[in-house]
């Protein structure tokens, strides 16, 4: 009885006590190249107007090297820089972090995360952009509808700088 009541209430509030999740899986491919640098990667959500609605993750080198500070190369994430990066005061807590090695990277967000919770209902696109020093650049998009009333999933397959990218929304 108690359980039923809890579920009924949480249904009314649309904020269930158990986690509704927004999961992004990003694969950085292993590359056989003479000179390898980890890619800069940006993961963000764009609205139907192509404007950045939420920054989920940005991985870059946030320190000085003999070639200058790592922020110097952020505009090479061309679309992210244009949509969001150039207006940000970096670093951003909970968004920016160091570059990551080749492999699978799971980004799990609770749908109550303020970046997701404040999205107005509508059609959105998850965008993943990667650029690598002395390498290439690749951008993948996965459309989704927000808020999700039923489970949603989408996939995109990179060819060069990104591997498989997957989005799973569990309401």
């Amino acid at each position: 009885m108690r359980v039923t009541l809890t579920i009924a209430l949480s249904g009314l509030l649309a904020m269930p006590a158990y986690a509704a999740e927004f999961d992004v899986d990003v694969q950085i491919p292993q590359l056989k190249v003479a000179e390898y640098h980890r890619p800069y990667v940006a993961v963000w959500i764009e609205g139907a107007d192509n404007k950045a609605a939420a920054n989920l993750a940005v991985w870059y080198q946030d320190k000085d090297t003999k070639e200058g500070h790592g922020t110097k190369w952020l505009p090479d994430l061309r679309q992210w820089w244009r949509r969001s990066g150039r207006t940000l005061d970096l670093p951003v807590d909970g968004v920016t972090g160091p570059t990551r090695p080749a492999g699978e990277h799971a980004l799990n967000f609770d749908t109550s995360d303020p970046r997701l919770a404040r999205l107005a209902p509508g059609n959105y696109t998850l965008v993943v952009e990667a650029v690598r020093e002395v390498g290439g650049r690749e951008l993948l998009k996965i459309p989704f509808t927000w808020p999700a009333k039923a489970p949603q999933s989408g996939k995109a397959q990179g060819k060069t700088e990104l591997g498989a990218v997957a989005l799973t929304i569990t309401p």
Binding site: G68, H69, K72, L74, P75, R78, W81, R82, G85, R86
Partner: protein, 272 residues
Amino acid sequence: MKRSLAPAITLALALVAALPITASAHKAWLLPSQTVIAGDAPWITVDAAVSNDLFYFNHVPLRLDNVAVVAPDGSKVETQNGATGKYRSVFDVQLQQEGTYRIGVTNHYLVARYDDNGKPKRWRGTADTFASEVPKDAKGLEVSESVSRVQTFVTKGSPSDTVLKPEGTGLELVPVTHPNDLFAGEEATFRFQVDGKPAAGLEVGIVRGGTRYRNAQDEIKATTDANGEFKVTWPEAGMYWLETSTQDDKVSMPQAKQRRLGYVATLEVLPQ
């Protein structure tokens, strides 16, 4: 003209004469090392030259006498490490402010053409030097005023609009689409104005760089509408050279009968 100075003056005139006045002249350009920049106080370097091929320096350098850099807050920025070589000039600019910088060369001259003992003579100078250098009784004397701008734009961080505001004199580009927010496959809108008023019917030519490695100029042509505006959809990413010119009789130098106005911009278009 004193004999001993003649070689130097002739050289200077030859270089100045290469500046664009008409569409058929060589192309003058400024080429920034990059246009979209991040960092605390990053540097860019700029090449300045006059050539037929874009953007290769193989003709004459663009003189830096009248180069001016305007910061996002409207203040003037000194260029650094300026040098002029055989084929190009070069200078550095440090970007200390957030926003858009305008880098430009504005040349304002009197140009005289006359018959010098049977030989066609072309003279260029200022209103002050005209009286002393051009013979008063020159045969077939034609005097015109020339105002030309060669510009480019670079942005550190978020684009700003202060330096895009026109000065209201001569031929100027008034970007509707920000000149550092241009992307392949997207449409951009620009406006031209003369003395602050929309310039209708101007023919605008746009050529992408790298002409040495293709067999055609691939020039994009556009004509300004009644509002002085034209639109261009960038076919691909690259550094583009944009040019237009016009003439009228609204002279500011009393010796001239005609005014020639030229404008050139270098614009970077980025990939999607």
